[in-house]
Symmetry: C2
């Protein structure tokens, strides 16, 4: 049943080692003027030189090969060569999550890698973290997208209270809610049951803070029609573990795990 | 479709906040002499006082209620009261993983929470980390087990080379191998196909180092009958993300995610 050994090592090795998100229009021969932070990274961390190959993506035109055309004192310029891969669509899965002390960046990183299209920080009654540094979250999402070969960066919305999030939740999008009280059905079984009527479906996942949801929030969640409570077995997962684990279940079942990396 | 709001908050709040792994025989009225590290934690970090309630587990007798009977200068003594919950069996899923710089503890923590029975550190050609601090890994596993309400602590084996691990791999245990070359089938689909012939099955998961497996290792993996290569979609996951994500898929499908936490 095992397949032949992969023939793709040479392709893997030949791909540019540096990969950057550059939100500008792409086309053959076009120049890309790289922002200060990325220019610093290219010139001083990666020690890029004129003629070096870089992979770039802008969120809509797939992945392109670019060459370093100029390394200036303050800015690096790239010249677009050709498209390496057509744009891949990210699954339509959203993650609403309560920011967790010291772990919010980890959640953003894992969710970006696993293939979430939108991140929605949400404030809840038991939340310990009361503010979100949007610039930092965006930078983490970009870094994770560059590293994991995504063709886009997940959108990050401004934080809102759980009641506001639920009030505005789209009618046609299921919200899978990690019910830490243990009353939900096994996520795998729930998805298996929901799937026949819902594909191609729009999904959201809601993960609470370390302290769980308040009794009022539990009541509120149970009156929203789109909300489906789920469980993840007999152990109590940390909030960041719960986010990664639930996203893996969701994306393997309703996402794009049948697809393969570009280099195969 | 949503269930009634949980009635279990009072039970959750009434449970002892401190939970300790104490590998000694349990029985009503028996005394537990707590090791130095745990005594220090109890007395000086948690400021436990005589009469305080503590939950304890020893890996075989379920979860017990204990009372602090003495807080000495160097040691704390507990007195066992009664069993709170019968021993729960951990799924028979093993995780073989290449230690990753700064992230090995994270992998041990997540695998313990998700419900792995055995952790097998393995050395591979491209591994950056060349040694494993067994005491530190064990301490992390115990801490994670205490935190996540497990009734046992996963066994951790001494590290071995991949070739040794594969040579001694049990004939009746499937080894699911995270194939970073992208040639494996969607893990969810693979498990779905394997399941009818394999339940109740013995499973192992193999996760490579950040640099992936060498060409020789790929060849070696493909000649071992128990090995099944799998993929996790088009994005390249970090090794620690891959471990958590794959374990979530496996344990939701062949593990104990149908079970609920003790307090429900």
């Amino acid at each position: 049943m095992n397949q032949a050994p992969p023939q793709s090592y040479s392709k893997m090795l030949a791909r540019p080692k540096i990969r950057l998100f550059v939100p500008e229009p792409f086309g053959p021969g076009l120049s890309l003027h790289i922002a200060a932070g990325q220019s610093h990274y290219l010139a001083h961390v990666m020690r890029a030189k004129e003629g070096d190959s870089i992979a770039v993506f802008n969120g809509q035109d797939g992945e392109w090969l670019a060459e370093v055309s100029m390394v200036g004192k303050k800015a690096v310029t790239l010249s677009l060569v050709s498209q390496l891969a057509a744009q891949k669509t990210t699954p339509d899965v959203w993650l609403a999550f309560a920011p967790i002390r010291n772990k919010t960046e980890l959640v953003v990183e894992k969710a970006t890698e696993l293939g979430v299209s939108k991140l929605l920080p949400v404030f809840t009654h038991h939340a310990v973290v009361k503010s979100v540094n949007m610039e930092k979250l965006k930078a983490h999402a970009i870094e994770a997208a560059e590293q994991c070969q995504r063709h886009d960066v997940p959108q990050i919305t401004e934080h809102k209270d759980l009641s506001v999030l639920l009030g505005a939740w789209p009618k046609d999008r299921i919200l899978l809610f990690a019910d830490e009280s243990g009353h939900g059905e096994n996520l795998h079984t729930l998805l298996h049951t929901l799937l026949p009527t819902l594909l191609p479906g729009k999904f959201g996942l809601l993960i609470g803070p370390e302290g769980g949801f308040s009794a009022d929030e539990h009541h509120m969640l149970r009156i929203v029609a789109q909300v489906k409570a789920f469980g993840m077995g007999p152990r109590i997962l940390r909030a960041d573990t719960a986010a990664t684990a639930a996203l893996a279940c969701i994306l393997s079942q309703v996402g794009d795990w049948d697809a393969r990396p570009n280099f195969t």
